[in-house]
Symmetry: C2
Subunit: 239 residues, 2 copies
């Protein structure tokens, strides 16, 4: 029988899926999963996603050598090493290090997917690497969009559509969200940056002054590492 290839459009819908039956890809394009892919590519030993700034600090007490990453309202939190910009995750900064990262949407998606067979991290940066690996799993696949405050967003959905584009000839059964995501990708694929300019999010991000981050997060296939969740830490998948 065909395997399933489905899209959970927001973490608020994840209870509708038996995540135990799936390999899950977490998607939070602006900027958590893009930064994570870039950091793991650049040799970070582990990236530890947490929901709250306070949790970050608790890690630091136990492990003073850990780097802390947190932003609130677009500013690096005082006393932290850096924020959520992918440019913070260069080899110079993260190679051989563990980074504790606070995210909101991304962490929720990870937490709510924790019973999945396996959880990997996807972004445009490692798109083809993730897709190639997914094809080898032979498992049902659930693409979980972190979305924006538990609601649907275009950029995460578009990325889900890009994954489906690479997998859809593999005789997977698509659900309606997957069909929609892939159709939206058809509309946006020729110029994703331009397409996403019309999103509500785009204006908000512009106001945060992170347009360079946005452009960076839309680079396709610049990395090959696949971050995988193991004991609450994201590390490089070896396969």
């Amino acid at each position: 029988m065909d395997k399933k290839l489905e899209v959970c459009l927001t973490p608020a819908l994840i209870h509708l899926y038996n995540v135990e039956e799936y390999v899950v890809v977490i998607i939070d394009i602006f900027r958590a999963t893009s930064s994570i892919c870039y950091g793991i590519e650049n040799g970070a030993e582990a990236i530890i996603p947490v929901a709250e700034v306070e949790e970050c600090l608790a890690y630091k007490e136990k492990h003073p050598e850990y780097l802390l990453a947190a932003e609130r309202n677009g500013e690096v939190v005082k006393g932290f090493d850096f924020g959520n910009s992918p440019f913070s995750y260069t080899t110079e900064k993260v190679a051989g290090k563990s980074v504790v990262l606070t995210t909101t949407n991304g962490t929720q998606a990870l937490y709510l997917s924790r019973k999945a067979k396996q959880i990997v991290i996807g972004s445009f940066l490692n798109l083809t690497a993730v897709c190639s690996w997914l094809k080898t799993t032979g498992e049902n696949i659930l693409l979980v969009c972190a979305g924006w405050k538990y609601n649907f967003n275009l950029e995460d959905t578009l990325f889900a559509g890009a994954v489906i584009e690479q997998l859809k000839d593999g005789a997977y059964q698509l659900d309606d969200p997957a069909i929609a995501a892939n159709d939206l990708y058809q509309l946006g694929k020729h110029d994703i940056k331009q397409y996403l300019k019309k999103t509500s999010h785009s204006e908000r991000l512009k106001q945060l002054g992170i347009e360079e981050d946005i452009a960076f997060c839309l680079n396709v296939d610049t990395t090959t590492a696949i971050p995988v969740l193991q004991d609450n830490r994201l590390i490089r998948l070896i396969f």
Copy 2:
């Protein structure tokens, strides 16, 4: 300031909106809201949506003259007057009558939207009528897709996109789900029936043997009545 024109992709996301701030359009294309539009157009005095077959029966005890409509697994429930097919809502059958209708997805969407400023019923049948009226309200508009078992479905989203198509020049602020719905409508509008053939739902409906219903529900602008919720009853909006 611009009014909002937003889409709630499934009833499971409705808690993300302050429904009090919106006029809500409930959308359950296959087949609840299409049948309701057709019934009200054809002179039904009221259509009373309920969630359970048992509730239908309770109405009947109090009001023996009410018609009861319920289906389970595509069959009219024993002892009921008819099922959920729009063809049951002809003038001959419903003019001057009250109909108690069990729906699942549609009723949930109605119930969860109950605090809205006003709730009307939309379908392709009354598309332009609903849009023309919405333009006159000057209110924020929330298009609530009933979806399928609390998840996203294509047909309801496509209809939301069709509404947006008629309203989007009116200086409304669209959220991401609204942008996506309208983009999907661009892809499907030239042949909605053909477009929807690829949905997961379509196969299921085919198996129920209700392809004629489906075709009927995709007729555009065949009616002008706008059903509005008043004291838990859907009646014809007078304006």
